[in-house]
Amino acid sequence: MRFRPVATLFALVVLAGALYVGAAGAGPLPALGALLDPVSGVWGSLGYIKFADSATAPIPNLSAPVDIRYDQRDVPHIFAKSEDDAIRALGYVVARDRLFQMELQARAGAGTLSELVGKAGVVADSEPRHLGMARAAERKLAALNPTSMESRLLQAYSDGVNAYIDNATRAEWPVEYKLLGTRPARWRPVNSLYLYARMGFTLAHTNGESERVAAEALVGAAAAGAIFPRNSPIQEPIQPNGSGAPRYDFHSIPAPGAADSAALALLPLLPRGNPSRDDAEVSRLFASNNWAISPARSASGHALLAGDPHLELTLPSIWFEAHLVVPGKLDVYGVTIPGAPGIVIGFTRDVAWSLTNTGADVLDYYRETVDSQTRPMKYRVDGVWKDVERRQERYRGKRGEVLRVDTVGYTHRGPLMRMGTEWVSMRWMVNEPAREAGAFFNAIHATTVQEFLDAFARGYAVPAQNVMVADRRGNIGIRSTGYYPIRPDGGDGLTIRDGSLSANDWRGFRPLQQYPQSINPPQGFLASANQQPIDPAVEPGYFGYDSGYEVWRALQINRLLRANAKVSLDDMRRYQTDPGSVRADAFYPYFRRAVAALRANGVASPSMLSADSVLAAWDHRYTVTNTGAVLFEAAMQQLVRHTWDELIPAGDSVRTATPSTAVLLQLLGDSTSVWWDDRRTSAVSEDRNAVVARSLAAAFDALVKRYGAPTAGRWAWGNTAPAQLHHLLRLAGFSELSVPVQGGRGTLNPSAQNGGFGSSWRMVVEMGDRVRAMGTYPGGQSGNPASRRYNDRLRLWGEGNLELLIAPSSLDSIAPAQVSASLTLSPRKR
């Protein structure tokens, strides 16, 4: 062979470059060798699209072998000899399907995403650290007695997850690790507590102070108090008040007053409204439904329970279905959150339960007096200077390198943060001592509604949950469970308090008997959907505030249940996606009347008349092909925008706060209120009809511009407001961004134009001698995007259908035809 120096050199350089890119990547390119390796790279996911028919795996500390059978819906049924072993096995099987999700969610609570995704994660990481979530989780773990049940649960779960990590080959690692160029980190017991902290952030990081102060700054205290009231103007409480119908506590809203100078000074401290979220109701979509029917009102004569928590829709889903059996001790079926050592929502042979968020206000701010405006080391309470505890936060990258360092100060109340020119500390229930893992585990051993509610309440603190339970004896019950702070002087949580006085601190927590609750009410059913938990006429104490609640779904559930004296399990299933809306029924007439009034005066525009003809044909339902729903929702957004112009600060274009739609309905009752006048049009003085009709016309014009004429066929609710399930890393290829669904704002299956929130798990259960249950969630059991099981339930979920849930009580009772795969976990000494 002839030696060709140039060609050889060229080949050498190109090969060196290819090897470098293969080993280390270049620019945005990840390390291509490991990534494209058909065995252990991204294609490795293809080798694990289904489980082997039969497999065995060792787990350290297991006391006896555990048999696991996956059914045809890929739900693992775990048969263990001890409860600790069952939890170890749960950790193993969840990791087997959802390892990346577990780590991502725990890191989101710990503020260590940057260790997984690099520098891009630092900004997101700073929030949980500055809110004290990571510190609180670590302190909760440290406070646990190592021999306590909670400690054992967390450790057992951790053993199971780590056993899977140890057993898995690189090929089995979730594809996301390969795309990110990282590897699974070992699971620590504290990770489960980070996850709980994250759930606390999602469901209990409320900010009523901000809304109220922002409104006071612009329209004065009296008007602000009226448009951001403590109590919902529409009362259909969770604890039935005996009235048998909703109550509308509507009264005239005082005119906008002069700006409040004290609040005005605070305005710059508050987060500015986000122009991209000019959608007042988005924040209320983290919501849920549950209801229960007593035997007297059920078609079968047994107690019935339905539950569907509404959360961010993601792929893989937030939930994972599992069944745990320990003969004589435990037999529980339901859904767990990957990373949580137990079943969160589900049923046993004796009880079924589901949760909705209470929306309790468990966060308060205190304006602190500090020794230094730049770097406070001390703060003053009752005239005495106290040390600020300082905790250094190090943000690390994928290889452990330090990307950023900052320090968070703490007062005795919680994290200290700079707001504008002031230092404010925050007391938040999420950062207080609690035993959530133990609460769930205690409760699943209950055999009656009362036992379940009492067991759950022992140690469960936050986020407060409306715990709905039905039992085999025919009892139904609900309790809004969580720690509710007692503020000084019976005050609420809607003001920023003076931190220099210890008298302003929380005085403890409400006793259990003061929790909103009801067991076997005379009406024969119970329903919760994030509405105000207790009628203030019954209990005037403060639990939360109106704009943190949502009443429309509660009104709809109650309407459906009151109209049906014999509810069947299938009725419950249908109700979960019922397209009707009390909200639509309430607002619709105002649009029609406004156009009629303007038409009578000869001032209705062509757009108003065209829009009115679309609304005239609307059946008030949010079905997939519905045209009217598209216009109505757009008009509602415009109405909010046109009505609350008083809440836009001078020189700005974004509202600082938005009252609830219940308050908007209240205002609609007053046709000449000065709130209707748009201050931006100084030459005219608008009344209600002008604003309502103008909102409708603006919505119509915007829709025509976007979708063409209503007859063009593109105004279909399912197309304009589809569910959007983003992958956890928002990777488009692993997401499902256009799933038509029936339901909209205020319906039992809430879906908004952004589509990112919705029913994350639907379950209906009949508590007869043999439990009959159906359920599904959007997605599938697997976290592997190459697997059919990644999203195989999506179509069923979109259609509002459920699957029968099988819960065999023993290995022998599973028919071979029901088994898709089996796994045996065997003890292995460390």
Binding site: M1, L12, G33, G41, A786
Partner: protein, 116 residues
């Protein structure tokens, strides 16, 4: 003979990938080039073998029912690439590594292993 040699090399490259890792491809190809330096175009044979090795792995997976095309398209969308890019990159990358390594191996082999 060339075809047979290419197939044997493809099998060796596939085995190297399965048993060791992706970087076994250039090592095995370089050794192949050094040994077969006297043959015609060892680099080209190795490139084809690299392509066959990894492409064959995907092909066998597809024959076994794995959704190679669908998953490839999902991967591509996730990386904001055209749908064909992941599969193409997966078969070209080992081809480039094997071809160049084999070519260089043949240069070295020709220099040091040739009978004088």
């Amino acid at each position: 003979m060339t075809v047979l040699r290419t197939i044997v090399l493809a099998v060796l490259l596939a085995l190297g990938t399965v048993l060791v890792a992706w970087w076994a491809v250039p090592l095995v190809a370089a050794a192949f080039g050094a040994i077969s330096h006297a043959t015609r175009r060892p680099g080209l044979s190795a490139a084809v073998a690299g392509l066959l090795a990894w492409g064959g792995y995907l092909g066998i997976a597809a024959l076994g029912g794995a959704p190679v095309g669908v998953f490839g398209a999902r991967l591509a969308a996730s990386m904001q690439l055209p749908g064909w890019a992941p599969i193409t990159a997966t078969i070209l990358f080992p081809a480039v590594l094997a071809g160049l390594a084999s070519y260089l191996g043949a240069r070295v082999g020709g220099r040091y292993l040739s009978p004088t």
